[in-house]
């Protein structure tokens, strides 16, 4: 049977319309447009009329809010694509932040002898190191004990949160100002804007997407999630691959902590409480299948942005903050349903043509 050839222009349009992210981007754009239309406006210090939503301050604020768990969502995507789940990332975040702040406080003498550059470097090493080790612990236990990752990471979630509680004595610990000036660096933009978290989110997203689609390890992760049996029969080392995804999830939690604790200037054992669910929600809203084998870092990031956007909408429209959870919960369900059925409808339409 000869395959019907499509004209090139149409197949590009086809590819865009059916790509995994189209539905999500459409929802984000529609929500953004609605918010711009109904947000109203105010006059800024220079007397110019500024839209209450569509202005650089609010947009970067949304991106910053999203960045901390969007970065972790990329790590969670690896885990979920491989067929696993990681509930401990919020606790890893808290532990890495507390240990980093405690260490820097111990090293820094009252007269501020710790050079700013060294403080930033040390902070990054500690956060990323703690995250990686915690991930290694999760992965090694999942593989070596052969217990479902839901149970292992449910356990480590409490254990790690407990360690950060005990080691910090439940106090909030200040991070050196050098870290804050790093995370809030305007990078040439007006002083009120802080693009570092947003840019970090974009970098992690791009690196994560390339890792998943273009590298040997990434491709192995997708294969293992798609069919572990066939992967084993193709000579893949399942144990190593499974450990690696938890290490990566821990690493992204470490990156998120470093940015978050630096940005807010402190760390406490209560940080990122419940983040694991935000992270999983972002991934799932992004269309990653919980049964493994399918997912994308770009989609997970878009999912995180959508969730933050919904939260922002509640503020912009001056809705009662108490309804936030109800709205977010419903929105997640609606987004996933729209995404799935929208894609299916679109495919049917395109097929019918």
């Amino acid at each position: 049977m000869a395959e019907p050839r499509r004209p090139a222009s149409r197949s590009i349009l086809h590819a865009i319309l059916t790509s995994q992210q189209t539905g999500l981007i459409a929802i984000i754009l529609v929500l953004g447009a609605v918010m711009t239309m109904f947000a109203g406006s105010h006059t800024d210090a220079h007397g110019a009329v500024v839209n209450n939503f569509l202005n650089s301050n609010t947009l970067i604020q949304v991106a910053t809010d999203a960045s901390f768990f969007a970065i972790m969502a990329v790590g969670a995507t690896f885990v979920i694509v491989s067929g696993g789940i990681d509930l401990s990332v919020g606790a890893v975040y808290a532990l890495a932040g507390v240990l980093m702040a405690l260490t820097l406080r111990a090293l820094d003498t009252p007269d501020g002898t710790l050079a700013p550059g060294l403080a930033v470097l040390l902070g990054a090493v500690i956060c990323l190191g703690v995250g990686t080790l915690a991930g290694l612990l999760n992965g090694a236990m999942v593989v070596a004990l052969d217990v479902h990752p839901f149970i292992i990471t449910l356990g480590t979630m409490w254990v790690l949160r407990g360690i950060s509680f005990v080691s910090s004595h439940a106090e909030s610990i200040l991070a050196p100002t050098a870290l804050t000036s790093f995370a809030k660096a305007p990078l040439g933009l007006p002083r009120t804007l802080a693009p570092v978290p947003m840019l970090s989110m974009l970098v992690v997203m791009i690196v994560g997407e390339l890792y998943l689609t273009r590298t040997v390890m990434g491709r192995h992760i997708v294969a293992v999630g798609g069919n572990p049996e066939a992967s084993r029969f193709s000579g893949l080392r399942l144990g190593r691959i499974r450990v690696s995804v938890y290490v990566l999830a821990g690493l992204t939690a470490g990156i998120a902590t470093f940015l978050g604790a630096s940005f807010y200037g402190s760390a406490s054992c209560a940080d990122a409480n419940g983040y694991e669910l935000y992270v999983i929600a972002s991934t799932v809203v992004g269309g990653t299948s919980l049964s493994g084998g399918k997912g994308s870092a770009v989609s997970a990031t878009l999912g995180a942005i959508l969730i933050v956007l919904i939260r922002q909408a509640i503020r912009t429209f001056h809705l009662d903050q108490n309804y936030e959870w109800i709205i977010i919960g419903l929105a997640i369900i609606i987004a996933v349903v729209l995404d799935r059925h929208g894609t299916r409808l679109l495919n049917r339409r395109l097929a019918a043509q």
């Binding site: 049977m1 395959e3 019907p4 590298t215 294969a223 029969f233 193709s234 000579g235 080392r237 097929a351």
Partner: protein, 521 residues
């Protein structure tokens, strides 16, 4: 049992101008024919000809775009499989669908589990459930020597046993029309014989059967009539006596195909063994076995389903950590228990169940082809995509894979093309020792001849091949030597040109079995 509904002379099933299309594919176009009640009616055609689609329309899995389907003279329009079942149409799928974690009995009676009485109405009556399940199995197997314990979980069963269960479940639902989609593709000749007996018994009860199979001898042996499809169109419907095997194949493929016969006239190679196996065994799976395969040689394994043939291949490929014994490749010892070591030594394994073990169905043809050796296609862990694509395309051309592109999702391809991709991945990996487990299961005649030719040409180029097949004609036409397995033990070594009877006798140990029976009665 609602068998034989309808007045005499009315067709049991009538397709009238049926068309069905899927995105990008016209699966069926204006197909019309009738199936007489109480007969076994063959649906023939290559993979992708539309046989499965036609069956699925009747079973309520798909709905026709155009045309209508009549059952016992009445037009039907099934929205879901349940509606078809209620109307007495049951289907035995090519894909075996069971709840893996539940027992045989639970699966067979799922949906109408027997309950206790009175206060115990909420509780499943396990004893009754097992009794009914055992009766359903006995109905299919017909005698005692193919017994399946109803308390075993599905995950523990072999593919052959699962297939028998599916048939038992369809027959047990009391269907008047039964669709059998490749029912013998994973049965050994011996097990298949039980199925043939069952079909004869069902005919006597006026059950109508639509029989999809690639095995010519079955079609001619079992069916009263046959419909040939090609590229989604109806080509012919005739009583079976009006076909010959060769013209049926010609109608199916639209050209003349000759079955593949291997030329074995060359002198046996005197080269030292490529693969040498000494006292390989695995507790509970198979007893110690020793054999050697020279370059260019094809060694076949015959045996019933469950005789341990697949276990031997799994052990050789390092998938069985409990296996012990001495295996050498090119005279150097190979470590057992890790597939990576086996692959490094040039072994490739085409497993029995391509959907579960051979392929990642959700990924593309390219992803699947390069999966075992992706690292070789990478510089500093970045996969060289263009090289990967060129390589895949090369093997697509060599194996004549029919797929829209190398990026197509493997799950959407026909069985024959899927199997070619499993073969492609080991060819592309450059394997010199190929372990083939049922390499042509569920593959159409055209693709089958191509795969046979490929196996032969690999042998000619010096590969050592171990071939497991439940199809004796295939085994005997390809293998230089045949080792016969029975209940985990190698019981005979026969030359490749042996007759089927001889092999079958060793496979079943039929003399002992006969004595055993007469003493029981």
């Amino acid at each position: 049992m609602i068998a034989g509904v309808g007045t005499p002379g009315t067709a049991a099933v009538r397709y009238d101008g049926v068309s069905k299309s899927f995105p990008g594919v016209q699966a069926l176009q204006d197909v019309s024919f009738e199936v007489a009640p109480g007969t076994c009616h063959a649906l023939c055609g290559e993979n992708g000809a539309g046989k499965s689609t036609l069956s699925k329309l009747l079973a309520g899995i798909y709905r026709p775009d155009e045309g209508r389907i009549e059952l016992h003279g009445q037009a039907v329009d099934f929205h879901e499989p349940r509606a078809a079942l209620a109307a007495g149409v049951a289907m035995v799928h090519q894909e075996l669908a069971f709840c893996e974690n539940m027992t045989v009995a639970e699966n067979l009676l799922l949906g109408h589990l027997p309950r206790g009485r009175g206060m115990t109405r909420v509780v499943v009556d396990r004893r009754e459930m097992e009794r009914q399940a055992a009766a359903m199995i006995a109905e299919v197997t017909g005698n005692d020597d193919l017994r399946i314990d109803t308390r075993r979980t599905i995950a523990d069963l072999t593919v052959g046993e699962r297939q028998l269960l599916q048939i038992a479940s369809a027959v047990g639902s009391g269907a008047s029309v039964l669709i059998l989609d490749e029912p013998t593709s994973s049965l050994s000749e011996y097990e298949a014989q039980h199925l043939y007996d069952l079909i004869a018994r069902l005919k006597a009860r006026h059950v109508t059967m639509l029989y999809v199979s690639h095995r010519m001898h079955e079609i001619f042996h079992l069916c009263e009539a046959a419909t040939v499809l090609r590229d989604g169109r109806h080509v012919a419907t005739r009583p079976i006596g009006e076909y010959t095997e060769s013209d049926m194949v010609r109608l199916m493929v639209g050209r003349t195909v000759t079955g593949y016969t291997r030329d074995r006239t060359g002198a046996p190679s005197a080269e030292p063994a490529k693969l040498s196996v000494t006292n390989l065994s695995s507790p509970g799976k198979f007893a110690p076995i020793s054999f050697a395969v020279r370059p260019g040689e094809i060694v076949g394994f015959a045996g019933l389903v469950g005789a341990g043939r697949s276990y031997i291949l799994e052990a050789l490929f390092g998938l069985d950590e409990a296996a012990t014994g001495a295996v050498t490749v090119d005279n150097a010892p190979m470590r057992l228990g890790t597939p990576l070591e086996a692959m490094r030594r040039g072994l490739g394994f085409v497993p029995e169940d391509r959907k579960r073990q051979g392929l990642v169905l959700s990924l593309s043809c390219r992803d699947n082809t390069t999966l075992p050796f992706l690292r070789r296609l990478a510089s500093h862990t970045w996969v060289r995509r263009s090289e990967e694509k060129t390589l895949t395309q090369h093997y697509f051309a060599q194996l004549n894979v029919r797929s829209p592109s190398t990026e197509a999702i493997v799950g959407g391809l026909s069985g024959g093309n899927q199997q070619k991709i499993v073969l492609a991945k080991w060819l592309a990996a450059g394997c010199q020792v190929l372990l083939l487990d049922e390499p042509t299961r569920g593959v159409d005649v055209g693709a089958k001849a191509e795969i046979h030719a490929l196996i032969d040409s690999l042998a000619k180029r010096g590969a050592a091949i171990v071939l497991v097949s439940s199809e004796l004609p295939e085994l005997l036409s390809l293998a230089d030597r045949v080792l016969v397995m029975r209940e985990g033990t190698c019981v005979a070594e026969l030359p490749g040109h042996s007759s089927q009877d001889v092999v079958l006798r060793d496979m079943t140990g039929v003399l002992e079995a006969h004595d055993h029976h007469s003493s029981e009665v």
